[in-house]
């Protein structure tokens, strides 16, 4: 179990961005699981009326069982993450109730794993979704994995959500993102090979402020780092060098 190399992760996330249908997202979640060398990786959207939508690597049997038994009402991960926005290690959730304990035993039987880390996502119009990775291992190994990868996991969670929102016409997709003039300026100078300090100086802004422009552009373009953000801005014709 480990974190994938940055280059491989970027390649997979490129596929995620191009995924134009459900099957594509399913395929990307399987590849990401293999890269992280963990048992499971799952995206799960829950509407306020309890309607569910998702994809990922849990077995079809477990997915059916979950829906059939209405485990949304019992699952401590849902209960502990709903309406929240901080990522959580499953160990920090409350598994002490009788229903939760038997749910946990069954989840183990179906191969979900004894460890999990979930990222709640708050989207537009009160949208709620959950991105989860799970695995079989000891506490120490899992803590090291999440500590090392949590930033990427948070970003991947939001990329999946972004893709899912765009695939579901009924779920109020966000308008297509374009870069603001300041973001275009920042990206253009970075593409020219300026350092951050030089870009900040050229635009007469602090490096702090520059970081926000870069961060915002990075998120809009679904990129994992500055280099990829610049590459995507270039390939989409958003900036010209």
């Amino acid at each position: 179990m480990q974190g994938p190399s940055k280059a491989k992760l970027e390649k997979i996330l490129g596929e995620l961005e191009r995924a134009s249908e459900f099957d594509g997202l399913q395929g990307v979640s399987e590849k990401l699981r293999d890269h992280f060398q963990i048992d499971h990786l799952v995206y799960h959207w829950v509407s306020s009326s309890g309607e569910q939508y998702g994809f990922g690597t849990y077995s079809v049997d477990w997915q059916q069982r979950y829906i059939e038994k209405d485990y949304l009402r019992v699952d401590p991960v849902i209960q502990g993450c709903f309406q929240r926005f901080n990522p959580v290690d499953w160990k920090r959730l409350d598994w002490t109730g009788k229903a939760a304990r038997s749910f946990q035993a069954e989840a183990l039987e179906y191969g979900v794993g004894n460890q999990g880390y979930s990222v709640p996502i708050r989207g537009p119009n009160g949208q709620f979704a959950l991105f989860t990775v799970s695995h079989h291992c000891d506490d120490e190994t899992w803590a090291a994995f999440t500590e090392k990868n949590r930033r990427d996991l948070i970003l991947i969670a939001h990329f999946f959500n972004h893709a899912a929102l765009q695939l579901e016409p009924g779920r109020a997709p966000e308008p297509a993102q374009t870069l603001s003039p300041r973001e275009v300026d920042a990206m253009t100078f970075l593409a020219k090979g300026y350092s951050r300090a030089q870009v900040a100086d050229t635009l007469s802004i602090s490096e702090h402020t520059l970081r926000v422009y870069i961060e915002s552009a990075r998120f809009k373009l679904g990129a994992v780092n500055t280099t990829q953000t610049v590459a995507r801005a270039l390939s989409r014709g958003l900036i010209v060098v």
């Binding site: 901080n86 708050r122 300041r182 973001e183």
Partner: protein, 210 residues
């Protein structure tokens, strides 16, 4: 001590919640003269308190509120994107790594120690949840308060002059700054971690079901 409480868990701490919303009325309506809504209970609340924000609160020894601020992710509804984009040339700030920080409030008489503790709480949140920045709207009188606790934000945009100046600011928290503030607050990083563990663990759920 510091507490980190989502709005839907405030019921577990009735005194703390009541005094926090009263202190907000005292600070924002009475002292700063903002046009805010205060309900019949004397509580200052706005629409973002209904978005289940996360409150970072200093709780005094008597169980009441000593100071607080409010956090919301910028991927959902936020004050800065809903009402203040004109301060930033129409730009929205949306990122899983940036949270909005609003309603920074101190109980009348709370000293810089409480402000510093709150700042450490914010730093602890940033570290634990990979948050790179807090963004927030503030007005001129707050500038002095932020400077005094060594937490002056980078200003991304502003309108108005003098006391009426309203700005959008951006905070980050380097390790150096953290160590400095920890010393002035007299709180060790280990203690902050303990408080975070407590609030993002099972305690609240146990109290709720008790």
């Amino acid at each position: 001590m510091l507490r980190f409480i989502y709005a839907n868990d405030l019921g577990v701490f009735p005194k703390l919640a009541d005094t926090m919303f009263r202190d907000r009325a005292a600070q924002f309506r009475e002292r700063l003269g903002w046009d805010v809504t205060v309900d019949t209970q004397g509580h200052e609340r706005d629409e973002y308190d209904n978005e289940n924000p996360l409150y970072v609160i200093w709780q005094n020894a008597d169980g009441g509120h000593g100071g607080s601020f409010r956090l919301l992710p910028t991927t959902g509804p936020t004050m800065v994107n809903d009402h203040f984009t004109h301060l930033m040339n129409g730009r929205r700030v949306e990122s899983p790594l940036i949270w909005e920080c609003t309603r920074f409030c101190l109980e009348k008489g709370s000293g810089p120690r409480v402000a510093a503790a709150l700042m450490l709480g914010g730093g602890g949140i940033m570290e634990r949840f990979e948050i790179e920045h807090f963004i927030g709207v503030f007005d001129a009188p707050m500038t002095r308060i932020y400077s005094r606790i060594g937490s002056a934000p980078t200003v991304l945009g502003a309108v108005g002059q003098g006391r009426a100046k309203t700005s959008v600011g951006l905070w980050s928290f380097s390790n150096d700054a953290r160590a400095r503030v920890a010393r002035s607050a007299g709180l060790s990083p280990a203690l902050i971690r303990l408080w975070l563990d407590r609030c993002f663990g099972r305690e609240i759920q146990a109290r709720k079901s008790a």
